[in-house]
């Protein structure tokens, strides 16, 4: 591997986004599965870095998941998006940041399609007026929330308490980065680093002391596939694709996976459990599996947030071996507690994949 070659590509694919004053839009999946990640993101940018990230109570889903499950027409998704843009405009913002990769892809696609087919934009403008009596303005800058963390990665590094380093060996942790397909595969220039060697997560890993693992199936999809997951009969597709990725990364013995799409960590996490249940095979050392985390969770960890505040207990793959490697203190008793130490019981232990 010739790193200079990659650096050259990274240098070529840098997008220009401002570092403040954003209209923040949530992700259906992230808030449902990794609620603490969005909380952490806003805490970091607002409180730790002092930036202006505004959230409007009236914004909704972008409809991206329904759109990519072919449940709603393209015009519907575009009009919902136009409504979000209208909310941004009404709130006095020009920069738009979303938490979801599917959204990010759909926003990008929508803006590009409108650019190519202005008559479609006009049609959507009419739809929005007919349905909501709103008018929208297209955002000046569009970013994904991981772009922001990437942009602030050195600021975060300055506040870093636990770098991505194995405290026992002193060596950097081996980190697999997994980029959501819709981040830059459709429009390579819209993502940091482009489509083939995206830099958005690599930049974070490097800045926080980790070592990036580049394995053959790095670019492969996690296997979500929308309808291929939502319908039980199709889930074989989804788990098989994750399986393929893990088989490919296994020889590199990665310590952790970091993702920028809210869905991917769910699949990379839960499918490890399913693969273990079905085949008895586990990845990572000692049968614990390889933790698949969101970039907010990783940022939170290195900045010294409490692992249970970050919601790491909602992952099926045990997080404790990683915490120990990084030397992060945690209280095992508090892992499954509710607010104010409320006893919520303990999840059952799976058959094959180890839990602490």
């Amino acid at each position: 591997m010739i790193v200079e070659g990659k650096q050259k590509i990274w240098a070529d694919y840098q997008k220009d986004i401002p570092d403040d004053h954003y209209f923040y839009v949530r992700s259906c999946i992230r808030q449902s599965f990794w609620p603490a990640s969005e909380v952490t993101f806003l805490d970091i940018v607002r409180n730790k870095l002092g930036k202006d990230f505004y959230e409007n109570a009236y914004h909704t889903t972008c409809g991206g998941i329904a759109y990519h499950s072919d449940s709603i027409p393209q015009e519907t998704a575009m009009t919902i998006i136009a409504r979000q843009f209208a909310l941004m405009h009404e709130s006095g913002y020009e920069n738009y940041v979303c938490s979801c990769i599917t959204s990010f892809g759909l926003y990008t696609e929508t803006l590009e399609t409108w650019r190519e087919f202005p008559e479609l934009e006009a049609k959507i403008r009419q739809y929005l007026w007919d349905s909501c009596k709103k008018e929208f303005a297209k955002p000046k800058y569009l970013a994904h929330a991981s772009d922001m963390i990437y942009k602030f990665r050195f600021d975060i590094a300055k506040q870093m308490k636990f770098p991505l380093v194995n405290v026992k060996t002193g060596k950097p942790l081996k980190v697999v980065e997994h980029i959501g397909c819709h981040y830059s595969k459709m429009f390579p220039s819209k993502g940091f680093g482009g489509a083939e060697y995206p830099y958005v997560l690599v930049g974070m890993i490097e800045a926080w002391g980790g070592e990036v693992v580049d394995y053959p199936e790095r670019r492969h999809c996690c296997g979500f596939g929308f309808r291929q997951y939502f319908i039980q009969g199709n889930r074989g597709y989804s788990v098989s694709n994750t399986h393929k990725k893990f088989e490919s990364m296994e020889p590199y013995e990665p310590d952790l996976i970091i993702t920028n799409c809210p869905g991917c960590p769910y699949f990379l996490d839960r499918w490890q459990y399913v693969i273990a249940e079905q085949t008895g095979k586990t990845y990572g050392k000692d049968g614990y599996g390889i933790p698949a985390l969101t970039y907010e969770e990783v940022a939170g960890l290195v900045m010294g947030y409490d692992p249970w505040d970050l919601g790491l207990q909602v992952h099926q793959v045990a997080i404790e071996p990683l915490l120990e490697k990084m030397g992060i203190p945690y209280d095992p008793k508090k892992k499954y507690q509710g607010v104010n130490g409320k006893d919520l019981g303990v999840p059952q232990c799976p058959m094959h994949i180890k839990s602490v």
């Binding site: 039980q232 199709n234 074989g236 098989s240 249940e277 079905q278």
Partner: protein, 103 residues
Amino acid sequence: MDFGFCLSPSSHVKMDSVDLTTFNRLKETNPDVNTCIACGSCTATCTAGNFTEMSFRRLLLMLQRGKEDEAKKMIQRCMLCGKCTLVCPRGINIRKILLDITR
């Protein structure tokens, strides 16, 4: 636990582990197996191909991609009429190869 789905087998042709014994043996007696340009003339003219999936150019590929069982199944359809040999632009003696595959 029954999840209602399971891992699917990969259909990738894994060139690293393809067993080429039959093809290599064939190549020794019929060096022209290498010269197929997949033009499809054989398939288009095939008498059996009129009724079935029989396709010699595909059959050769099957042998090269480790699908020997499929190939042998396909040969069962062949009527040995030899039209394929007549139309092959590369002059491959297809009928001979078909017979040799079975030996």
